[in-house]
Chain length 204, copies 2
DNA sequence: CGTATGCTCAAACGATCGTTTGATTCCCTG
DNA sequence: CAGGGAATCAAACGATCGTTTGAGCATACG
């Protein structure tokens, strides 16, 4: 099937699918390696352990996602004419671009699971490797919403994060009407999410 | 009968804690029964299986939660002077009352896990026992937001649901300042969530 | 050609899982 | 007080888990 791809890539792709469908505990290495068409021992050979494989699944997607997010943010951050919607667009658009890129949509489901799991090891891994992204966006939100107290801002960002994670984890299931192109459907979705988040962040 | 109810209750309480901490798959019946101080076989004796136990954990909380939500909704639904904030209060207040009631706060974490898991069996169970509540609230939202299309309304309700689930699942972790009573802290939290949800639902 | 190296393979490891069993204890009722 | 169903118990069941092993295969280099 995908015999052209490397063994590591096939494992990562199959892991992303099964982790999204059955969770990290629910997906066994035997199901996983069978779906990838590789030997059972290949996971421990190439990744060391199942936990390391989980981290690699995150790393592969988050590296590109955060690069795109920071690139988009750097184009609007600190500039006087920048609006709240611009910053939110920089945060949301790369995630939805990932969702529409082949199997990447499954990754948002995996990310939503990681949020629901309150596993300390996984949270620490995510915080260490990608906390700086949220910090940069938070700083820009604080600049654009100077009337909000720090506590109030954190509250609203947390609520927006929950809404966006919830929505984007189910994005693959939202059927677009026939006659509407993929890109225009995505643009509509981005507009929905950006307006909702802007209203939730900036309401009096 | 009384001693069996005690055993059942202790199992349910321990299950709620461990399901919130480690997930449905992650929490084993041996950890669970040890924490409850009962024999391993007690789960299968009283509930039939682990899956039935999971359903009972949901049923115990959702029965009272839904009753309180519908009771609060019936006091404001359909009346001309009712505001969007009133309906949201009827939805949010019972959930936070549950959260501050002893170990009930853990249940919101369990509920957040159930949302993240896309398990069909669990979703069907929740839909059967929970669906009519959301339908009644949705009807009232539609009445108060007549300018929104059906599709747009569903979008916003889904986003609000994600935000509230995310926030309330972490409610137990939010430290209230010293000198602030439990009830006033809860009132502040309710006010935060209601205003955020109202802004997200009703923005132009 | 010979051999070293990276990779794949079937097989087995010990641990833990949910569930079942059969004996034993408890408690209510006649 | 005696009998019987409900509840609890230790123990074991088969299945499945993540991981390890050591032999076998491939390709590249001296």
């Amino acid at each position: 099937m995908n015999s052209s791809a490397s063994t590591k890539e096939r494992i990562l792709t199959a892991a992303e699918l099964l982790f999204a469908q059955r969770g990290f505990d629910g997906a066994s290495l035997r199901q996983l390696t069978a779906a990838a068409g590789v030997n059972l021992a290949a996971v421990n050979y190439h990744f060391g352990s199942k936990d390391k494989l989980v981290e690699e699944v995150f790393r592969r997607r988050l590296d590109t996602l955060n690069t795109h997010r920071l690139a988009a943010l750097s184009e609007v951050a600190g500039q006087p004419q920048t609006t709240l919607e611009d910053v939110l667009d920089a945060f949301i658009r790369p995630a939805l671009a990932l969702s529409s890129d082949g199997s990447g949509s499954l990754f948002m489901r995996v990310l939503a699971r990681a949020f629901a799991e309150h596993d300390d090891t996984l949270r620490q891994f995510l915080s260490e490797n990608y906390g700086h992204v949220m910090r940069q966006f938070t700083a820009e939100f604080a600049r654009l919403l100077p009337k909000l107290s720090r506590e109030e801002l954190y509250w609203r960002i947390d609520l927006v994060t929950g809404a966006l994670t919830h929505a984007m984890s189910g994005f693959g299931m939202i059927q677009r009407k026939s006659g509407v192109s993929e890109s225009s459907h995505r643009e509509q979705t981005i507009a929905h999410l950006v307006r909702f988040a802007a209203a939730g962040l900036s309401h009096p």
